[in-house]
Amino acid sequence: MEIRSKEFKSRAVFAIHDASLQQAMGKARDGFVGKRAQQAAELPEFEALREEAKNLKNHILENLDHYLERYEDAVKRAGGHVHWARDAQEARAIILDICKRVNAKTITKGKSMVSEEIDLNEALIEHGMEVVETDLGEYIIQLANEPPSHIIAPAVHKTKNQVSDLFEAAHGGPRKTEVADLVNEARQVLREKYFRADVGITGGNFLIAETGSSMIVTNEGNGDLTQTLAKVHIVTSGIERVVPTLDDATLFLRLLARSATGQETETYTTISTGPRRATDLDGPEEYHVVLVDNGRSKMLAGHFRDMLRCIRCGACMNHCPVYGSVGGHAYGWVYPGPMGSVLTPLIKGLDNAYDLPNACTLNGRCASVCPVKIPLPDLLRELRHLQHQQELSPVMQRRALKAWRFVATRPKLYHAGEWIAVRVLKLLGRKGSIRRLPFAQAWTDVRDLPTPEGQTFLQRWQAQRGK
């Protein structure tokens, strides 16, 4: 999808005034946060698991080449194919080639954020293929012709009413209004597609180096049907998703569902190893893995390696008060919220997503719930540092910082400035606060400015106590 992160501000304001969006977001936010907190509280070793997961991820990232090579060998031994894609274009070309070779007409897809990242659907549709998203949320936004607004709950911004409308228009009614009926209707429609599919494309929550397996977790079982019923199964995954062993994967599984949806475990956890064997009753004839770099090896080498620990649970956005206020679409690309505000500038360019690292209060709630302890606020600040160094920040901001530094490193001048400011504000303020203040409208448009008491603390202290 085309990046629209430059429109962050206007899209954020639009979202704040979108009553349906606010209704949907409020409901989701309260649900996710409460359930995660309950799960974390009920598992005594939860905090220890977070630390263990962080350390294991760090070990994997330090030895990523080793584990990826082991993984590739194991996939081949199981009869599968591994493809390496340096960027989105290469990834698209690889997948398109496979689909064309098997003359694919219908392609089913389990949820895959990497496929969103590489604009896969558009490329397949352009070549005349029918692409069907099978995750209920993805299916809803495909009908609405919208990108996902959340990495695990792509249609979290939609209300039930809006889904009823979409289904009625797409499926020809009668209009359903109960959640169970809506889910059932989608199931009926999708079941047909699974049987017709030539290619099934899924993501990979974890890639197991020791066995060459891909592991996916879903709550709907749609991933299983996608990957076992089609003739060809293609896994799209970032290179950072490899883990050494199945045991290691279980460590992350214990954290993933609890952090993401506040479940003890997902409904379906499915492991795929290679294509169908002679003795298997079902399964694909071909098994492919497309390992996508798309900026990841650059992150591995620099300041942002910590970001590669991400297991895509979405806890950071569930707990982010900015995301909760504006929703995922405001962020303008595939990954929203705190993790997206780090990834988007790194993958799509610092200048294409200036606002994302800045539209954050650095309140730290994201980092406090991250299952692999990514220091998201520090990474966002580091991105601001790069933007400052590359002079991507507004000229006025850089000038203001220069002036601030000049004055603040001269205590006498600084204190005189504070003294003058306090006097002026005191004159302007009546009844304790100021309602309109030129040059500070961004403050006074929203709230009053409390009037200073009259003198600065330092003045009064020195007057009372000497030095």
Partner: protein, 261 residues
């Protein structure tokens, strides 16, 4: 340089920018609490700002310039204490990171970080102080400021200290730990998002039924008070130090003299 008199620790009071300009009463309340707990309080006039605005804007060079100034001004003291989780988290956590590659300043930054504390946690955890004899008739709700809460682990300390204030009832609000939308320059760079966040916050404050909001950071408190004034809410806002020191008799933050009790 340190000249401790007997066992009384010499504390350098960090006069945060917002306190210095907008609410000197908080500084005097802090000084009183520290002195009552047996400290000698001094306020070096070579201090200005901790450097956080530069640091969080990505101007690390300017932040370091300010940090060097703070280190020089305060390293003579036994402790550095400030009435703000935000500024003190900058000194405690960020200074050592800022000077990671500077062998001259790193030890000085680390030494200062180790003896720098936010006021309420310092009173409670380091001094074991239990301010007594103060009275404040109010039903208050406590806003946990993010830097203090997640950066410095301040959660129970202010509540326990406030439990000793006669006449004060604490009533927790929903989402007390969620950001109020201040975020330093965030509130003026993204005013609409900030407005949504502070609106959520004051909704929870009003829902709690409290007549007073307390907290430990003037940035958040000015944001909350400013919004409460804008909608003409009678809820009053004080820094916790003011209540603990018995110096919350005047108008609340953003309030005026007619409302004082």
């Amino acid at each position: 340089m340190t000249q401790s008199t007997g066992k009384r620790p010499r504390v350098g009071l960090f006069a945060t920018c917002l306190m210095n300009m907008f609410r000197p009463n908080v500084g005097f309340a802090a000084a009183k609490l520290l002195e009552d707990a047996g400290c000698i309080v001094e306020v070096p006039d070579t201090q200005t700002c901790c450097g956080q605005p530069g640091y969080n804007s990505g101007d690390f060079d300017s932040a370091r310039a300010l940090a060097r100034q703070v280190i020089a001004a305060f390293e003579q003291y036994d402790y550095v204490v400030g009435p703000s989780g935000s500024c003190m988290a900058t000194i405690r956590h960020d200074y050592p990171v800022m000077f990671e590659d500077d062998p001259d300043w790193l030890p000085r930054a680390k030494a200062l970080a180790a003896k720098s504390f936010e006021l309420l946690s310092f009173l409670h955890d380091e001094l074991g102080a239990t301010p007594a004899g103060t009275r404040h008739l109010a039903t208050a709700t406590y806003h946990d400021s993010c830097s203090g809460l997640r950066g410095l682990g301040i959660k129970g300390q202010p509540r326990e200290l406030l439990a000793g204030v006669a006449g004060l009832k604490l009533k927790e609000m929903q989402d007390a730990e969620v950001c109020c939308g201040f975020g330093g320059t965030f509130c003026v760079k993204y005013p609409e998002i900030s407005e949504k966040m502070v609106e959520d916050k004051i909704h929870n404050i009003i829902e709690s039924g409290a007549d007073t909001v307390l907290g430990g950071d003037l940035g958040c408190l000015m944001n909350i008070a400013g919004r409460l004034r804008r909608i003409q809410s009678p809820v009053r806002v004080f820094h916790t130090a003011e209540v603990l020191a018995g110096m919350a008799n005047g108008p609340g933050i953003g309030g005026h003299s007619q409302e004082s009790r």
